[in-house]
């Protein structure tokens, strides 16, 4: 069977796929409902997947609702991306201690079995590709990241129900899975029944698929997929005009909108924590009471005062400077640095901002009065965008 063949399985087949991956030595993980949200978790079979669950998302707002919908994947992404699976929030880099007058250094191995992700979304695969460009880039690739990333088996599901904060169509990352997967699913539920279309993206994906009981997809089913994707494209909760977006932000570094957003921004760092591409980390050495030294790497945020601490002072001491750094990096300077956008349009930073700051709205406000606030200009007397307090 080639990569281009589309076959059909039902939910028994999906359960079999999860079992087959476990038999092959992977730890299956997928979306699960926990504490009122859909989050990554360990799964044993389809029974652990969020069947019938839907999300209601808006800036600073997320709620789950349940229905008798038979579908497992009728929701948009929750707060936690798969970033943590390849780039853990807290990693021990090494520890060292003294023994018989000599220093002993120990590096921990990459822990755990390879992971099989069932039910990642196309924007999440796009985010992993962005992270590859940062953490997997020779000659400075992160070995722990590379190991976790290379051995992970990825099963993506086309997005049928975008959320209120989604704008993947603007960023070209969804709702269809294009590449970067081992297997891609499309969940259909119509008069012909509940079933999944399956495509293989890699040889190992094709091998796993060939061991399952499948039948070829019909033309009607391929058409149903196109209809589903077309409806999803029309249902995006947000949009972002990407026309010369890097240039737009670069020439508006003194725009008064930065002051307005700073007045609302909590500088709490939620946006960077939930962002599937934010990669900053902090490396600290600590000692314990026995004198053992431990080097630990943790997620860090450009919204922290400490993040820009240089020779005695924080360079970005104001929230204005920090928000501007974050947004211009995501949408503008990421291109200069890595040749791509740092934003994949998943909308997490919008939903999970406690005060509902929406970067698509911020970008639109700057575009609405573009060009008069470049470096060296002064904001005095300039027209201001519409002020907006918390949602």
């Amino acid at each position: 069977m080639g990569h281009d063949d589309v076959v059909v399985i039902d939910d028994v087949g999906l359960d079999g796929l999860i079992g087959a991956l476990r038999e092959a030595g992977f730890e299956p993980a997928g979306p699960v409902v926990r504490d009122g949200a859909i989050v990554p978790g360990a799964i044993r079979g389809v029974g652990d997947l969020p069947r019938g669950w839907h999300d209601r998302q808006a800036p600073g707002h997320y709620r789950l609702v349940h229905s008798d919908d038979r579908r497992y994947f009728a929701w948009a992404v929750g707060p936690a991306s798969w970033k943590a699976a390849v780039f853990p929030p807290v990693q021990e880099v090494w520890r060292a201690w003294e023994r018989d007058g000599a220093l002993v250094v120990s590096e921990p191995p990459v822990a755990g079995a390879p992971m099989a992700v069932i039910g990642a979304r196309p924007c999440e695969l796009a985010a992993l590709a962005v992270l590859d460009g940062v953490l997997g880039r020779p000659p400075v690739a992160d070995p722990g990241y590379e190991t976790r990333r290379e051995r992970a088996f990825l099963v993506v599901v086309d997005c049928a129900e975008p959320g209120g904060s989604c704008f993947c169509t603007s960023m070209g990352t969804g709702p269809a899975a294009a590449d970067g997967f081992d297997l891609a699913l499309t969940e259909l539920d119509d008069e012909a029944g509940h079933r999944f279309l399956v495509r293989a993206g890699t040889d190992r994906g094709a091998r796993v698929l060939s061991a399952l009981a499948t039948r070829p997809a019909t033309d009607a089913e391929l058409g149903a997929r196109e209809d589903l994707l077309e409806r999803a494209r029309a249902a995006m909760g947000r949009s972002l005009d990407t026309d010369d977006l890097p240039g737009l932000l670069a020439r508006n570094l003194e725009h008064p909108r930065w002051d307005e957003v700073a007045a609302r921004c909590l500088a709490c760092g939620n946006c960077t924590s939930v962002c599937p591409t934010c990669f900053c980390s902090d490396v600290r050495d600590t000692t314990d009471v026995t004198g053992e030294v431990r080097r630990t790497r943790t997620w860090a945020s450009c919204f922290d005062l400490d993040h820009s601490y240089l020779h005695g002072n924080a360079v970005r001491s104001s929230t204005r400077a920090r928000y501007r750094q974050w947004m211009t990096h995501k949408l503008s300077t990421w291109w200069d640095q890595f040749g791509m956008s740092g934003c994949v349009g998943c909308g997490r930073c919008i939903t999970w901002c406690p005060v509902g700051i929406d970067l698509t709205e911020e970008a639109a406000a700057i575009r609405a009065s573009d060009g008069t606030f470049g470096p060296g200009s002064t904001a005095a007397g300039a027209p201001t965008g519409s002020a907006r307090v918390a949602p």
Partner: protein, 276 residues
């Protein structure tokens, strides 16, 4: 021992407080024996009645200043200490007893005690740093034992303590907690509160109480506006800020802006016909 070969002496001092922070030292069960060989506990009455005279290499000070006698005693402690570290919300912000700073003189004492005339105390509860120079402030109500160990071991090693100043939110996300504010609508001080507790309350579905005080940078006004927009009354919001760290400037000013200067707890009690 320090790199120089000298075993540093540590003294633990109590001012107006509940002892919870200094008990965090005894809570370091696994590390306690190693700690006892690394430093010499010269004065720690929760552990031993034996006392070694100063000067001390490191003093850990718990509690706020609420009496004239304590205001004099903290100066003696400072003089006898090479380094002085304050531990906990009382020592760093005046503690829960600092609520009286927002009331008329004697208002709390008259509410709480049958015979307030026996009390000899100042009209305010103030942090240690209002009285003497402080080398490092460790926040929390109570302090986190891992952070306390970090401060002591950093002192022994002669390095800066690795105690971050960012928000509780980032620790929630590290732990994988679902945001109680965004996903449940539960009022939460996490976005403006200093990390350190391990994001305990959101991990069990509760909003952050702000035990560790304001984060390094805060925007309390924007959080309050958001909470009010989600249905909290300004008085509810003022009450959130007016607890263990009521005297910390960022929390104090936000509570003032939302609820006025009258202590929320007293006003509620009076409204409900509480004892006067």
């Amino acid at each position: 021992m320090t790199p120089g070969g000298h075993t540093p002496s540590v003294a633990v001092w109590k001012f107006a407080s509940c002892d919870g922070c200094q008990l965090s030292i005894l809570d370091c069960e696994e590390e306690l024996l190693a700690l006892a060989t690394t430093v010499r506990m010269a004065h720690f009455t929760e552990m031993s009645s034996a006392e070694v005279e100063g000067p001390y290499d490191l003093s850990l000070v718990e509690g706020s200043i609420t009496t004239a006698a304590d205001a004099a005693r903290i100066r003696e402690v400072r003089q006898a200490s090479r380094r002085l570290v304050t531990i906990g919300a009382c020592a760093t912000a005046g503690g829960i007893q600092g609520l009286r700073n927002f009331a008329a003189a004697g208002q709390y004492a008259g509410t709480v005690y049958a015979h307030p005339e026996y009390l000899v105390s100042l009209e305010t509860s103030t942090p240690i740093a209002d009285h003497v120079a402080v080398d490092f402030e460790l926040h929390g109500c109570p302090v986190d034992r891992r952070q306390l160990l970090e401060v002591i071991t950093a002192f022994v090693a002669g390095r800066r303590p690795a105690v971050p100043g960012h928000s509780v939110c980032q620790q929630c996300k590290e732990r994988g907690n679902v945001c109680v504010l965004v996903a449940h609508g539960t009022p939460c001080l996490g976005p403006v509160t200093r990390t350190g507790c391990g994001a305990l309350c959101p991990a069990v579905g509760r909003g952050c109480f702000g035990c560790f005080g304001p984060a390094a940078t805060t925007n309390t006004a924007a959080l309050s506006a958001g909470l009010v927009a989600e249905g909290s009354s300004p008085l509810d919001v003022a009450r959130l800020f007016r607890t263990f760290n009521a005297g910390a400037p960022a929390f104090r000013d936000e509570a003032d802006a939302r609820g006025g200067a009258v202590p929320v707890s007293l006003r509620t009690q009076t409204r409900q016909g509480g004892r006067r």
